[in-house]
Point group: C2
Chain length 143, copies 2
DNA sequence: TTATTTTCAGAATTTTTTGTCTGATTTTAA
DNA sequence: TTAAAATCAGACAAAAAATTCTGAAAATAA
């Protein structure tokens, strides 16, 4: 099997995009997020807690509790979520699994892959959550 | 954690590149491959068997046995190994983990990610093993 | 033919990732 | 003040991926 982001990270990205698209709500309960996105409640709950520890989202406890973004959507980049959950190792470790893959001792595909990787990193670093609101709403609606 | 190719696939790519770089040998024993690449012998053995079933490499049993490419290096593309081991799901499943991600119901990053993915696929489909011989030899030497 | 050396096949084990359960803590509404 | 409804924390369980083990089968050299 092949993966880009872990399931945790995929779900984390989905949830944060969902929160960004629902800014008009004060907070959103974890069971609403879980239901809307078809993610096991207890699992997304753990992921949201970890994103809170990383300062990406805020939580409110108690009867009227739930989750909301910690900052405005325009201040949160996709890479922030990826970094918080999966880390950035994908962007500096060898795609062929060779150790010490660097310009001095490059793996056979070092140059070609490095270019693609840089583009991916750039995309995730440039795009902020506010740019996705409409597309997220549309996607959720058709889930 | 984040992964592009599974460990199996990484090791498979390494081993096939190694075989391509050592075409002057008739066959290479699995314990030599394992030692040169620092891969557990029993594990790479399994991977090589699976690549043989996919027709990418050949094996010879018995006292003078070992493995060799089934075709000339110029006829084997990187994507062949990826497809045999990890499959091509990475190239047509949603990077955010959304179901039914397609042009009709795209995920928020569908367009931007799709472009990168296509480039990656193109690279892996265009590059054949013969182009990597020198770089592979250099990398192995400095492992 | 026989001993040796290799790949082969499948099961078993370990580790990592994913997902679940239990109960405590916090907050609010009645 | 009390009951209800939410998050929180940590242990637990299940599933998947990675790795190892065991012994058979094949081929060659002596």
């Amino acid at each position: 099997m092949t993966v880009i982001f872990s399931k945790k990270c995929e779900y984390g990205l989905q949830a944060v995009l969902y929160l960004a698209a629902n800014m008009f709500d004060d907070v959103v309960r974890v069971d609403v997020i879980a239901q809307e996105l078809n993610i096991p409640k207890e699992f997304i709950s753990k992921i949201l807690q970890s994103l809170r520890e990383h300062g990406i989202i805020d939580s409110k406890k108690g009867k009227t509790g739930g989750f909301a973004l910690a900052k405005s959507p325009s201040q949160i980049k996709l890479i922030d979520i990826v970094e918080a959950i999966d880390g950035l190792s994908i962007f500096n470790s060898c795609v062929l699994g060779f150790p010490n893959c660097n310009p001095d001792h490059p793996c056979p595909v070092h140059d070609k892959w490095g270019k693609l990787r840089t583009e991916a990193y750039k995309m995730l670093s440039e795009e902020t959550l506010d740019k996705f609101r409409d597309k997220t709403l549309d996607k959720i609606k058709n889930l």
